[in-house]
Symmetry: C2
Subunit: 216 residues, 2 copies
């Protein structure tokens, strides 16, 4: 039930449970940009006091998943176009490297898993399910990058995803595409062929494509 693999699953610590749930909601676009949150409200939702809510929020703010106003109010970030461009460039840098490192270890079982996930992506697209699309799309990338055996890099990539979550939801909400992900097929083909330059290009294109529509 918890698709996000953490380094060490352990105690049912309250603040960690709140953190994981909020993190998923933000990363997968459950919350629109600028959405306000309160410590007391979060505590109520998860039936905990303000203390664990505060720790979870503090952690998410440190990761860029949430932002604090000057007076300490909590909300999801509203990204400027400059920041979106930066985050897309970071995705390109880090994820191309992750894909490149995963390539030598990408066996047939992985490629088949990626195809299965990709059909789930197509299904989400067909159903106009923005959250489902974001979730399955990120699962596609994460599944590939896990093979890179580079946890620090993967964590960085996930941090970028986290920051873009609400914005991606708003973005894919307004551009109602119905065509399945094209570049995912290119990624799979490059993996099959062991074509590293092709893989790098396919990943770079895939992670930066959606941004071209966001000129403003």
């Amino acid at each position: 039930m918890t698709p996000t693999a953490k380094s060490s699953d352990s105690l049912p610590v309250a603040h960690d449970r709140v953190y994981r749930s909020l993190r998923q909601r933000v990363m997968y676009g459950d919350l629109p940009p600028g959405h306000a949150l309160t410590l007391r409200g979060i505590g109520k939702d998860y039936e905990v006091s303000m203390t664990p809510a505060r720790e979870a929020v503090r952690r998410l703010v440190a990761e860029g998943a949430l932002t604090l106003s000057a007076s300490g109010r909590i909300s999801t970030p509203e990204l400027s176009s400059e920041r979106i461009e930066e985050l897309a460039a970071l995705r390109a840098l880090i994820e191309v490297e992750l894909a490149s490192r995963a390539l030598p270890r990408a066996h047939m079982a992985l490629i088949e898993r990626l195809q299965t996930i990709n059909s789930a992506v197509s299904e989400a697209v067909a159903h106009r399910d923005a959250v489902g699309y974001i979730r399955t799309n990120l699962e596609f990338h994460r599944t590939l990058y896990l093979r890179a055996q580079a946890p620090a890099m993967l964590a960085m990539a996930e941090t970028v995803w986290l920051q873009m979550g609400p914005t991606m939801r708003a973005l894919y909400g307004k551009l109602r595409r119905t065509e399945p992900p094209h570049y995912h097929r290119l990624i799979i083909a490059a993996l099959r062929a062991g074509d590293e330059p092709g893989l790098r290009l396919a990943v770079r294109t895939d992670v930066t494509q959606g941004l071209r529509l966001l000129a403003t």
Copy 2:
């Protein structure tokens, strides 16, 4: 007096003061790897209760500056050689991009500032001052990267520095070099010449050089 530029300097909030101070101590190698900390101890040092100490620690843990044991004990990270390699690769990826983006905006005033900072680096090296070396070295890089006008990327780079802080201290402590930083001069020369490939190579070499001595 606070060299680290934050997004918004505002209130004298207790937890933020604790955070900033601890962050500097970690980033600049004031604490050795594996050094243990306690919430009550931190609170005592800064004359606050456990609450702000806890928030500062939570934030630093989220950034990778500190790690928590399975039972929640706080300590500075002890990095495996694989993780060090990863972090060095991340530095290379991100900082090369930052330098490249800073290049078109690097005027003479910036280059002179870099030279001034670089002489401070040399002085720290001559005095065997590990903390001073790390601090001035990072100031050199940060000064250059600030010109890139890419706050999200700079934040990522600083997060990597933060994670490497204690290890860098331990590293530079055991290899007592006395020669001034060679690749900083190459960086400055490439900036002067507007030589982008040269700059990229110089930065990449500079940020990955210290790692070769850490084969273990």
